[in-house]
């Protein structure tokens, strides 16, 4: 017996297949259903590639137009989402090759100094943003596995399908990317430990 989540996924699959069939039969308006279902994921995926809202929407739009042009190439051997994410990743990757989102190498992304205690929360949020931006400064071969791994909610298999790479390669690149980030932000864990210690002392 299927779980509700599986049933929902099957419904989406059926809806995608039906809409693709209608579009290929000449009903352009059926493409609207596809855009409606996948606009959120595609815009969010683009956002993780560039961290620029306007550009993310432009990229997602380009991905949808490419998907529309190449709809007949979806063989239905893989799920529609796998095909669509792989196509979108290709669009985003190529665009970022031409116009990088961050032009600094990771070594030049500044780690923030410790702020006063009352500013810790704000500082932490801003530090998180620095780490997220630092991902964009990673070399491309390490950047994309990180972007897609977290986009796919830490699913290596899904990330590797989107990139069209073996899982082992994705895991190795992910590990290297984490190593680079760890080296770049050694103070981040210390900040957090300091906060926890301060919290415990205040509570005692």
């Amino acid at each position: 017996m299927n779980t509700p989540a599986q049933n929902a996924a099957d419904t989406v699959l059926d809806a995608d297949a039906a809409d693709v069939g209608r579009v290929l039969a000449g009903d352009i308006n059926a493409f609207e259903g596809i855009v409606r279902r996948w606009q959120g994921p595609l815009v969010n995926m683009a956002w993780r590639y560039c961290r620029d809202r306007a550009r993310a929407e432009e990229l997602a739009q380009e991905a949808f137009v490419r998907a529309w042009r190449g709809l007949a190439t979806w063989r239905q051997e893989s799920s529609f989402s796998t095909w669509l994410f792989a196509l979108a990743a290709n669009v985003y990757r190529n665009d970022l090759k031409r116009f990088p989102a961050v032009n600094l190498p990771i070594e030049e992304i500044a780690e923030q100094a410790r702020a006063a205690d009352q500013q810790l929360h704000l500082e932490e949020r801003s530090q998180y943003e620095v780490v997220r931006r630092a991902v964009l400064a990673l070399p491309p071969r390490y950047r994309e596995p990180v972007v897609l791994f977290y986009f796919h909610e830490k699913d290596v298999a899904a990330a590797s399908r989107t990139m069209g790479l073996p899982q082992g390669t994705v895991k190795a690149r992910l590990s290297r990317a984490r190593e680079l980030l760890r080296r770049r932000f050694p103070g981040l864990e210390r900040h957090r430990m300091g906060e926890e210690m301060a919290g415990k002392e205040a509570g005692a």
Binding site: Q39, N44, Q61, W68, V135, R182, L188, E189
Partner: protein, 116 residues
């Protein structure tokens, strides 16, 4: 920074909601593309004779070049082509034009492949 900490930072992103006009904007572009006439295909049938002539001239130039430098190198047999200098000179120049044309086409094809 531990892996758990990194997962916490990079995994906990706020969901971005596409702007209200996004769907309409995509559909407008799709409809525009659908309404546009299909791209004009390259006229291969008309171009083939030109390509054959160009390839012939190019080949002949290459052979002539090999014939001239062949004796110096010592490993290319000269071909028994007997043409007057008045004919050879323009053909040589045409050969260079064809070579440049071929290089241009190759670079255009390569750039198209890279853009895709």
């Amino acid at each position: 920074m531990t892996d758990e900490r990194m997962d916490g930072i990079l995994g906990a992103e706020e969901e971005l909601v596409p702007s209200s006009g996004f769907l309409a904007s995509v559909m407008d572009q799709v409809r525009e593309e659908a309404a546009a006439p299909p791209p004009i295909p390259f006229p291969w049938k008309r171009a083939v004779p030109g390509f054959i002539v160009a390839a012939g001239v190019f080949g002949w130039t290459a052979m002539e070049f090999a014939r001239r430098i062949g004796p110096a190198v010592g490993n290319v047999t000269p071909l028994p082509l007997q043409l007057s200098a008045a004919v050879v000179r323009p053909l040589e120049q045409a050969g260079w034009v064809v070579a440049a044309f071929a290089v241009s086409i190759a670079s255009w094809l390569l750039s198209r492949r890279l853009v895709r």
